[in-house]
């Protein structure tokens, strides 16, 4: 089963192709945030290189969020355009879940943190249990210091990863020796994780409906937020 994975939820643009559980190809660019220009050409280049056409794909997976609003929309709109003509199945994958997979089987808590503007991070807390990742808290946008305070009630080490690691380095350090960090090669979103989680979902027949699928923004638009607080 050939599944294409697309991630443009952060400044990273990534595309990957899985054939069942085999990673066939992956491109990852953490250079400049220019997803609108770059995402489709890199996707086309990757497929050309491995001799696969859109028609050959059995499904597509996309990083659904939370993340950059515009980045998420570029990724999802790209996937919708690819999937629409042949009605290919699509799986929207929560970005934080896919990040947690980068910290495979670490002994302790997994805490992905993604920059969310307004000095907050998108985050959730995970733990590995018998080869499965379990999410312990809801997806949230939190300021880093509140997040660290909430982590003080745990005793295990906490593995931080995501683009929020360097942005709020001092906040995580304040947790003391329990704060651990993924190496730089595993700290950012990977399209391969999206493709793999998508493959698992699609194999189980759990596709999303592209007529309705929307990014998981986690936050209302600023205008709606203002209207609500009035």
């Amino acid at each position: 089963m050939l599944v294409l994975g697309v991630d443009s939820s952060t400044q990273v643009a990534g595309v990957a192709l899985m054939d069942d559980d085999r990673l066939v190809a992956e491109l990852f660019f953490n250079t400049q945030k220019n997803h609108s220009q770059r995402l489709l050409p890199m996707l086309a280049a990757m497929l050309r290189e491995v001799g696969v056409q859109v028609a050959d794909l059995d499904g597509l997976a996309v990083s659904l969020g939370p993340g950059s609003f515009t980045g998420l929309r570029i990724g999802l709109a790209t996937v919708k355009g690819l999937a629409h003509p042949a009605q290919k199945p699509v799986a929207g994958i929560p970005t934080l879940d896919s990040l947690a997979w980068n910290a495979w089987e670490v002994p302790g808590l997994v805490c992905p943190v993604l920059c969310a503007r307004r000095d907050e991070v998108y985050t959730a807390l995970y733990r590995w249990q018998e080869g499965e990742i379990c999410r312990l808290t809801p997806y949230q946008a939190l300021d880093p210091h509140s997040l660290v305070t909430s982590l003080e009630s745990y005793t295990q080490p906490v593995y931080f990863l995501g683009d929020g690691v360097t942005s709020y380095w001092e906040a995580w350090q304040s947790l003391g020796p329990r704060a651990r960090f993924l190496p730089s090669t595993g700290t950012l979103p990977r399209a391969a994780q999206i493709a793999r989680l998508g493959w698992q979902r699609l194999r189980a027949g759990a596709a999303d409906d592209i007529f309705q699928l929307k990014p998981f923004y986690l936050r209302p638009s600023p205008a709606e937020r203002q209207a609500r607080s009035k």
Binding site: I74, L76, A77, T78, G81, A86, Q212, A223
Partner: protein, 335 residues
């Protein structure tokens, strides 16, 4: 037969259309977000972008169903890539690009303003050239000289507010609901256009540029002054007098441009072209000057994708295709 699917998401309408051979509208689907933005008193870019994301697939699907066509029947995919709200443009653009790639069909990037102009050719394919086109909308006020389908130049532009923007702002100070332009026109019908003499900005001698911010301020000052001295304001007279000031300048400069360029036709385009007073005055002035005036029906004047498909058809004929790295350009200029 050449079928072009066009997608337009530059502002608050998610639109898809299929046009055959640049003239036959097989489908023209518009999902309007006006109701969503009304409570904010204007278009909220982030909300517009979110709605485009939700509506894009259903709108394209409806266009195909209406046209009785399937994806393989399409010859090209066209999309607006600017000017407009960048986040909004990006949704239609990313979708259209990957659709064209998946179908292995040419991608055509269309300038939104050119789309408005080509609404004229959609309705009147044999519109004589050279022509002078007045494009008036919430985002633009331009006089464009069309020498041919490939040669054009901007004769004049607004130096501040767009005409439609001035309508919306004045409508707001008159307490009219959003979107204000059509409401203002309705109110103006009951008023006397000569009741108040608002200023006309002619700018320097011979200039074909426009300016509406002074007029807008004059209306606000007028209302403010009336409130201070406690006199009752006839809102219909204000609306009619304001509209007359806008229309007079638009019409005079368009006729001037047509005369200077020996134009064989005048084309009215853009959302404000739906304004009855403007259509009427320009048609009468054109008649007097001996230049026929063409106004597409209102449904083709406001934002839609059929006009984008028509503009794309002329680009298709000369193989003016876009690469897959086509980007949204919010302040794209017309060359």
């Amino acid at each position: 037969m050449n079928n072009i699917l066009a997608i337009e998401t530059s502002c608050d309408e998610t639109a898809a259309a299929i046009v055959a051979d640049g003239v036959a509208i097989k489908a023209n689907i518009i999902a309007s977000q006006i109701a969503t933005h009304r409570r904010f008193g204007g278009v909220v870019p982030e909300i517009a972008s979110r709605r485009h994301m939700e509506d894009i697939v259903p709108v394209v699907e409806e266009a195909l169903a209406t046209a009785g066509l399937a994806f393989p029947d399409l010859d090209a995919v066209a999309v607006t890539y600017g000017p407009g709200l960048v986040g909004a443009l990006l949704v239609g653009l990313a979708y259209a690009k990957s659709l064209a790639y998946a179908l292995d069909k040419p991608l055509i990037g269309v300038h939104h303003l050119l789309g408005h102009i080509y609404a004229g050719f959609l309705q009147y394919p044999h519109l004589p050239l050279p022509a002078v086109c007045l494009v008036v909308s919430g985002g633009h006020t331009n006089l464009v000289y069309l020498q041919s389908h490939t040669e054009r130049r901007i004769l004049g532009s607004t130096r501040d507010d767009a005409a439609g923007e001035a309508f919306d702002k004045v409508a707001r100070v008159l307490g009219l609901p959003y979107p204000g332009g059509p409401e203002l026109e309705k109110l103006a019908r009951a008023g006397d256009a000569r009741a108040i003499s608002f200023p006309r900005a002619w700018l320097e001698e011979g200039s074909l540029d426009f300016s509406f911010s002074g007029l807008k301020s004059a209306v606000i000052n007028y209302l403010h002054h009336a409130r201070q001295i406690g006199t009752e304001v006839n809102r219909a007279d204000v609306a009619a007098s304001f509209q007359a000031a806008v229309v007079e300048v638009l019409v005079a400069k368009t006729i001037q441009a047509a005369r200077q360029g020996a134009a064989r036709a005048i084309l009215l385009a853009g959302g404000v072209a739906a304004n009855g007073a403007l259509r009427g005055e320009l048609t009468a002035a054109g008649q007097e000057a001996g230049v026929p005036v063409f106004c597409p029906p209102p449904i083709l004047c406001t934002d839609n994708a059929a006009m984008i498909a028509c503009a794309a058809y002329y680009q298709y004929l000369r193989r003016d295709f876009a690469p897959l790295d086509l980007n949204a350009i919010p302040d794209l200029t017309l060359y």
